[in-house]
């Protein structure tokens, strides 16, 4: 039967493509506005424009890890393989975003602070977050049993997530070199319009990538969980009168 499921699949096949297209458009407009229309910042000058990708990357990275944490909780307490696949996708994309975040931060820090890296709480906790989730991806490669892999990486994700709120609040709790969070009420529209466009662009890009990675992970899982194919000899013997 061409059921709802196949329709659903056909629909979901296009979702990442649509999200990717929207993301590219938003990022293009946001970056154009940020690079050419928005005025340079008073103190930092042109260097500040990296904020239009840096801050959206940070937001999306945190959201991705939060989503992975949610998937881990759901998998552990309710089960369902799709949550394991989603968690893997979210951690993979989250690690890429967190790595990009550190690189963008370093590019910005060199002309502004004079160093690539500073042992400031925000930077330190972000690096810890990156390595903690990178460790979970390594764990997934080292475990062959899909059930154990799913349970253990969910457990590790829940524990590693302890660091994410610390990253977010680090600039408030400690007297940090890194800027505090701004809000639209404290920033002029010329600054927050490109920021907001890019934020949605990065978010849609992240969702599209998670969907693609989750699908890949689900396919890999399906082949792992499939019963092994019978031996060639056994198949020949079974064909004449067999029901197969």
């Amino acid at each position: 039967m061409p059921t709802d499921e196949s329709k659903h699949r056909a629909g979901s096949r296009w979702t990442p493509a649509v999200l990717l297209a929207v993301a590219v458009i938003l990022l293009a407009i946001g970056s154009w506005y940020g690079l050419f229309v928005a005025p340079p910042e008073h103190y930092m000058g042109e260097v500040q424009r990296i904020m239009y990708v840096h801050v959206p990357t940070a937001w999306s990275a945190m959201l991705l890890f939060t989503f992975a944490f949610g998937c881990a909780l759901v998998y552990l307490f309710r089960g369902g393989w799709s949550w394991d696949s989603r968690m893997e996708g979210a951690i993979e994309v989250g690690v890429v975003y967190a790595a990009l975040l550190c690189i963008q931060g370093a590019i910005w820090a060199k002309p502004t602070w004079g160093v690539w890296w500073d042992w400031d709480p925000r930077l330190t906790t972000t690096a810890v977050m990156l390595f903690a989730f990178l460790g979970i991806l390594a764990l997934r490669r080292f475990v062959d049993d899909p059930v154990k892999r799913a349970v253990w990486s969910s457990v590790a994700t829940i524990i590693a997530y302890v660091d994410v709120p610390i990253v977010y609040f680090s600039v408030k709790w400690w007297n940090s070199l890194h800027q505090q969070q701004s809000s639209p009420s404290t920033v002029s529209e010329a600054f927050y319009l490109p920021l907001r466009l890019n934020a949605f662009g990065m978010l849609f890009l992240a969702i599209a990538l998670v969907l693609l990675r989750a699908r890949l992970s689900a396919l890999r899982l399906r082949s792992e969980l499939a019963p092994p194919l019978p031996e060639p000899g056994a198949m020949l013997a079974a064909t004449p009168g067999g029901s197969e």
Binding site: V128, A132, F142, V155, I159, V162
Partner: protein
């Protein structure tokens, strides 16, 4: 009661394999010696960084003891036998985690004299140093025991444990190093309390969270 029996079993096993403990202690002392070569013979610099070296040596040694902590249970599938007992798996976890904590604390206390001799990093506040080592190693042993249960059952056990554990214990390591450093170098700003509170907070998070999740790690 179940916890007491689990703890008794672990402590007895550790006592019987005490040769390994001394091996790890010598490993830690060797690491302390090597750190001084990295810095060079500058005695003031060595003293300044002594707390960091002590905790790094302890962390490196801890992976050796923690990696083996579930080895006996894995041989001849003894863990399954333990889980079949009408006992809560959490008592098994806490028994092991407390035993690992005691072992790591003993290791830390054993490394202190080496640090004092090599780096001239003595302190008069011995009781406070003991407290810092106790609550610092508590923050290492709780996640370490849980991850050891995972890593022992996976491939590449020796690689996986530090890969999972090290990023996680950065806050504990940082707070322990700071607190120990303040004890050795003096604490004119009275910062000790805040680092102790941070350590206790992480201990509370890790001991409760890891205990809750352990049951899922060993279930089959």
């Amino acid at each position: 009661m179940q916890l007491v029996s689990a703890l008794r079993k672990e402590v007895l096993l550790q006592w019987r394999s005490r040769a390994q403990f001394f091996g790890v202690l010598i490993f830690g002392a060797t690491a302390l010696l090597l750190f001084s070569f990295a810095i060079g013979p500058d005695s003031s610099a060595l003293r300044l960084h002594s707390a960091g070296f002590l905790w790094l040596a302890l962390l490196l040694s801890s992976t050796l003891t923690l990696a083996d902590s579930f080895q006996l249970e894995m041989e001849q599938r003894a863990l399954e036998g333990l889980l079949l007992l009408p006992a809560d798996e959490r008592s098994l976890y806490y028994g092991k985690a407390i035993a690992n904590w005691l072992q790591l604390s003993a290791l830390g206390l054993g490394l202190v004299p080496v640090m004092v001799v090599l780096y001239d990093a003595g302190t008069d506040r011995i009781a406070e140093l003991v407290v810092v080592i106790l609550i610092g190693t508590a923050g290492l042993s709780a996640p370490g025991t849980l991850y050891s249960a995972i890593a022992t059952q996976a491939r590449a056990r020796q690689t996986l444990l530090p890969l999972l554990l090290f990023p996680l214990v950065v806050p504990v390591l940082l707070a322990s190093v700071k607190a120990t450093s303040l004890l050795i170098l003096g604490d004119p700003m009275g910062q000790m309390r805040s680092w102790i509170v941070l350590l206790l907070a992480f201990d509370a998070i890790y001991w409760s969270l890891c205990g809750l999740l352990f049951g899922r790690v060993v279930e089959d």
